[in-house]
Symmetry: C3
Subunit: 467 residues, 3 copies
């Protein structure tokens, strides 16, 4: 007998799966330890003027689908009206069948707005009006959108040169959830363009009160900012890189490379790799002192389309998956820190699923028994943040590591409407385990499986980040 779309048993294929979800997963609060929400929108409890603002304003997933569907840029990042944009999106939705956007969109309409109709050409206008009207209510401002989903903690992603004023402003409010910054120092080692790098150093000098003239100054400035972030509840750093790199000369040569780029000269690839490695190694040692966790998002090939980049910039849906070698660099980098026991809790995320097993086995090399699940392979990221991607991550992690110690899901999103993705993940996790139970590949003991599930959905994260 076939099942209805998005029904109570959505993604749950058998009794065990349903049981596990209902008893152990559905009611747990959310600890979203990595996302790209705007601290300003949180601090100001933003009200969205219409569903286009809330749904399409910064969502490059949707723009990308629209372009693949033959929709003009005007309706993506262009100057069409909010309603025009939404209607073009509504036309596109039926063409996204079997893409995660189809699930996400309808789940969000249902959970946030109570809208059960399918979005398409004929329902577009009505849904636009209904959802936009709802967003005017207090119960749909950003705070309410989060608390409605039982969000307890969100960790945003912030540059060291950011003054965190919105975090300070929010910290004084009494909103029913916490917001912490995450230290993301990518610009401190992004050295492709000397002028851009030097201009960033100026900014960082100013925020950190360290006049950065040498490599040591840079480290001191970053250290100051780490202290400041820590004071606002930051418990983790994050880094976006093509790959991790380390060689024996990195640390000793970095000051020279730094001098070269700050004098306006362009670095070679190896010089950039070494300078980045040296900054990172030094930062990671400080994270360890602070007992922070560190995250690495590896493997993206970004800004592939020059024509559109020159028009509308980055993060607009023109990135893809790279096929860089990952294993050796990861090994050497982590080992360099571990040699002196300066490797803190670490989460590595991979973008290329062909590398799943590389990541799943690498984490086991540096678990030293000090902290359960000390090194983690992060949940399905970006293009892998969908049903099959999550299932593969869960399957490979369980087969090559310990699923039981996994810290689970993050939205990694810019959208306040994306928190139903935690539900999506939890259903997939429960179905993954329930199916194994159904087939007799695990004991039919709901408590045994349920303990693991509630740990993965909530308690592991709480312990891991000291929330």
């Amino acid at each position: 007998m076939s099942k209805a779309f998005l029904a109570e048993d959505f993604l749950l294929d058998n009794k065990f799966s349903i049981d596990l979800y209902e008893k152990f997963a559905s009611a747990l609060p959310i600890l979203d330890y990595h996302n790209h929400l705007s601290p300003k929108d949180v601090a100001e409890n933003r009200k969205f003027n219409n569903i286009t603002e809330a749904w399409l304003e910064g969502d490059h997933y949707k723009w990308r689908a629209m372009r693949m569907n033959g929709i003009n840029e005007k309706y993506c990042t262009g100057n069409a009206s909010p309603e025009e944009k939404f209607l073009q999106w509504a036309n596109t939705v039926p063409q996204t069948l079997l893409n995660p956007l189809y699930h996400w969109s309808h789940l969000e309409l249902k959970r946030y707005f109570g809208i059960n109709e399918l979005l398409n050409k004929s329902t577009g206008r009505e849904i636009y009006e209904k959802a936009s009207a709802a967003l005017q209510l207090e119960s749909f401002h950003t705070h309410s959108l989060l608390t409605k989903m039982k969000v307890e903690i969100i960790c945003t992603t912030d540059d060291p040169a950011d003054d965190l004023s919105y975090h300070q402003q929010f910290a004084k409010q009494n909103s029913g959830f916490k917001m912490y910054p995450t230290f993301r120092p990518d610009k401190a080692y992004t050295t492709e363009i000397p002028a851009a790098y030097n201009s960033y150093l100026d900014k960082l000098s100013s925020t950190s009160n360290v006049f950065i003239q040498s490599f040591d100054d840079l480290l001191q400035a970053l250290k100051n900012r780490i202290d400041f972030f820590d004071g606002l509840g930051c418990r983790a750093s994050d880094h976006g890189l093509s790959y991790l790199y380390f060689d024996e000369d990195s640390l000793s040569k970095a000051p020279t490379h730094f001098k070269k780029i700050t004098s306006g000269q362009t670095l070679t690839t190896i010089e950039r790799d070494q300078l980045r490695a040296a900054v990172l190694i030094n930062l990671c040692k400080i994270y360890k002192e602070r007992n922070w966790s560190q995250q690495f998002h590896l493997g993206a090939l970004r800004n592939n389309n020059t024509r559109i980049y020159n028009k509308v910039g980055g993060d607009t849906g023109h990135d893809s998956i790279g096929d860089y070698p990952q294993a050796l660099g990861l090994s050497l980098f982590l080992d360099q820190l571990d040699k002196t026991d300066q490797l803190t809790q670490t989460i590595i995320y991979n973008l290329n699923p062909a590398d799943n097993e590389i990541f799943a086995t690498m984490i086991g090399n540096f678990c030293d028994g000090s902290v359960p699940g000390k090194i983690q392979w992060g949940s399905g990221w970006w293009f892998n943040d969908q049903q099959a991607g999550m299932e593969e991550q869960l399957r490979t992690l369980s087969l090559m590591g310990l699923l039981s110690q996994f810290v689970g899901m993050v939205t990694d999103s810019r959208s306040f409407l994306s928190f139903s993705r935690h539900e999506y993940f939890r259903r997939i996790l429960c179905n993954f385990m329930g199916t194994e139970m159904e087939k007799g590949r695990m004991p039919g003991d709901v408590t045994l499986a349920g303990d693991l599930i509630s740990n993965v959905c909530y308690y592991n994260t709480k312990k891991y980040f000291r929330f």
Copy 2:
């Protein structure tokens, strides 16, 4: 309850799948936009003297299976009689259980010849005689073999230096289907052996009426041939490469590299990469002017076995899958064309399934909203042209792109008996979607799914190639 082999519901696991196949897929005609059929065999409406000629003459898939089964080369490419060869193949078939050859062979016997018995040692002789006898009938000559399968259009694969005389001859016939050439200029940038390259240039000079002495002459000669191909209905080019490559110097240095090889000197790897890149970039701009589509088949590692190559040559079943890095080269090459809006509709096929996600996400970077599904990731190619390979391609494409805009299946085959593979693909596609419906992961709306299916099986292709 278990199902019978090759029954009406073959590969269709539930009611939705069966419904979708019967109502939307089974009756559609075939647009086989990429294959290696012999234009001569089509133009002359060839009659095969026996089933060995039709089935084993050029089929390196079957030879390869026979060799793995311990069968002597004599029965593959050697001088054994047609009947001896067939009987050795018949002995091998049961050993191919779970290989696509097992499905393909029995499906072809059933659909073309009405033979329902399993092929093996004890049925071999009888099937040889029955099928060979059938092939003598007018209704089994090449035209009939194609029209029997509702083939509307076939696109063969042709060298620029080919005079296309069989295409001209066929164009005058009234056969119930169309045959168009495809422009495949691989030899114009295959520069490993200077003597071979120069001899090819002589041939191309002669066909194109351009005496090729410089890089510009080469481009002019190819342009002339593109015009000629276009006149015979050609709507697409195709290219077989290990990987795509582009660097900033490719265009400026190509004339020098060309001069070097035409003077008989051997090029270095980087020189070959640059010369190839420059020829391709220039060709691609012309394809865009003609509104052709361009295809790239990437990732093969060919002619691994020197001993057999020296005896029987290439395309004999001694190729395999390469593990070249693909992402960056693809990105730079496509971007170079896109920068000036000279990137035409493009289909990229990958041989290494570890690269599936690289390809699935790369296509999204260059869809600019001008044409639905402008950049395509081609259907499971060669070793991936089987059930699991197709399912993976459909799954990954749908999760990371838009399945709804996919231009679907090609046989890519040398065999006039291979057109039941379109049925094979359609069943897999319908089962893929039907299973999602059955599980409540898609709305149970047969029309919604059916529209997508008929587009993927026929209508998208018709629009994409302007057939």
Copy 3:
């Protein structure tokens, strides 16, 4: 209806699967042609003093899981008592849910000891005592552990410099099974550390009675040892490498590189690659003369953790999967041997599942019809030796090669309790085929499938190795 854990139909999802397992697979003896059992423990019919000795003494899989679970090194390789170690392992087992250790552990308790309880904190002590007591019985000494599982032949893994005295000792016994050595000459081409290499050469000089002063001496010494191994029933060699390599200069330059390292100088990477290639090419030609099979285990990235390596050494659970390019090196190496028809039966094992299709298609290039399944892709190795890994290997092998000629499973284990993994493999194989039959993707002919299964589980191996 859900199934009980580890019941008779464990891993068998339908009637066909159950039938195939019971009728064709379950009763067959075991030919374990590659493992790391201790010849001493076999020759001396070792009695284990407790279950920790038998289960945890050298099992880096279990140590690794314990460390990931936050257990201190003391309980892995440290000086905790056997009982303390076992109890920490018992605590860890429930946390390994969905990891193969969970299946393996409970299957071993059940098959060897008749223990059906789940191992965890509350059952740990009782199981420790029960299993340890059983091990004191004659029927649990190493010979009995093997014959209980119907083991007919085991092939251990031995260094050329090993005197094989335990093999000689065992050869005189009448134990109901055979033990043969396997020639594993890794140290003869592991040249990272000149001092270690030269010290190995001294040892090999002594065992081989060849005073090794030149590259030719080395080859002569190895040849002597091959003769000696052959005399004790050895039918195969084995090699552990990151990747296979060959270039045109390898053979001519090897003597110079050899002179360089034996004079105490460090080799460059390319020199090491060339010297290794030259040793291997020469060895492989001798294997061919002896009609041995040769095995290559490719793709590991070993000893990632320097801190622990300095404390407890290698093979302690700090290895992972590498992402080396494999295709071209494999092709050139095998082709070099094949050119002169000096390529013997070969089994290549890959550690990175992203390379599955590389390996599955490479083997077809060098099957020349002389021996059925001449070149083999080995069964799921190490991290891939689990349900999904085996299923992927079977699936990919069947789709891109001939499953029917596969030589099947090996334990590759140090543990005398690991032979129930053959049962595990057989169940997976039978379920793989039974499921295809159930779905009508194979004829519902149990004999057809059963022949293939008994060949893969036993008869192919017997023929391939001339056992």
